[in-house]
Symmetry: C2
Subunit: 175 residues, 2 copies
């Protein structure tokens, strides 16, 4: 966690994980990356985090192999941050955390996750109750739930209103 006192004495994989993704904003960056956000500016707009903090987080996530920075156009040179397998592997954690948050502190469902192949809503562990299998992240379809603001201010949130598969790059309409 790169603070004065780290979790080094902990001898625990949870602590080790938190050293990497336990800092403020980090898990939300990964969440957005799974939702298909890839560009610095889109993260910035959607998260509302300070620019310096975002830059630092993208840096660490990249060096830890959770995101990958890659050039997607020359002239002007532009990079995007794409989530790797290691980042995708955080999906069960984020799923569990989101479920806990909704069940204990949220009223309405904000986002709904379905098995893209059959349309069934995912169970608590990311499994498809109909097919009886764990749904790969690429086959998860995210659709807005009833509690979500239907007309958000920022274009990234607007783009996230459209049903889309996880990991699919986000398409922002010029609007």
């Amino acid at each position: 966690m790169a603070l004065g006192k780290d979790y080094a004495t902990q001898e625990c994989s949870i602590a080790r994980a938190l050293e990497i993704v336990g800092e403020r904003w980090t898990l939300l960056v990964v969440r957005d990356a799974l939702y298909g956000v890839r560009r610095y500016n889109d993260f910035l707009v959607h998260l509302g985090a300070p620019r310096a903090v975002l830059a630092a987080r993208l840096q660490t996530l990249t060096s830890e192999g959770i995101l990958e920075k890659r050039r997607y156009q020359e002239s002007p040179p532009r990079d995007e941050y794409v989530v790797t397998e290691r980042g995708i592997a955080l999906w069960p954690t984020l799923r569990a955390l989101g479920l806990w948050g909704r069940e204990h502190f949220g009223e309405e469902q904000l986002r709904c996750f379905r098995h893209a192949d059959c349309g069934t809503e995912l169970g608590p562990y990311g499994e498809c109750p109909a097919c009886g299998t764990i749904v790969p992240v690429r086959d998860v379809l995210m659709v807005p739930g009833p509690g979500l603001d239907p007309d958000p201010a920022d274009p990234v949130s607007r783009a996230l209103l459209r049903p889309k598969r996880l990991l699919q790059p986000l398409e922002i309409d010029p609007a």
Copy 2:
């Protein structure tokens, strides 16, 4: 999260969850509570967190209904912090996080979780592969894995070496 900028604009259950359990040390306190730690001093010794921070976290966790503070003896008056159902519901999150940490950053397994009824090691979602059911947290048996230091310095870590069920109050030997 009670910082200058909170996650309020996020409209997301993950962000809401992180506002509550996303601060430094918080998830480790919950982890210890699930492991059976209940007393201020035991948390202190095992975590190595600053006293003020620990007190603050126990306070928030209690007011959020994740721990419950209760008198377990008069004279001298002593309280313990017992994890509630809401706290127990964080088990899937911690399980997923620990698994991710071990698979991607740990070498050896530090702790092993088994179905107490049949001894089978839990699957990634906390299910028993033999029985085919999700194992209730109370029926999870925690045993030390090969990577765990067999002779730790503090008495809490030593007590956690003995196989024990989750939630079962920790017994520290006087030693």
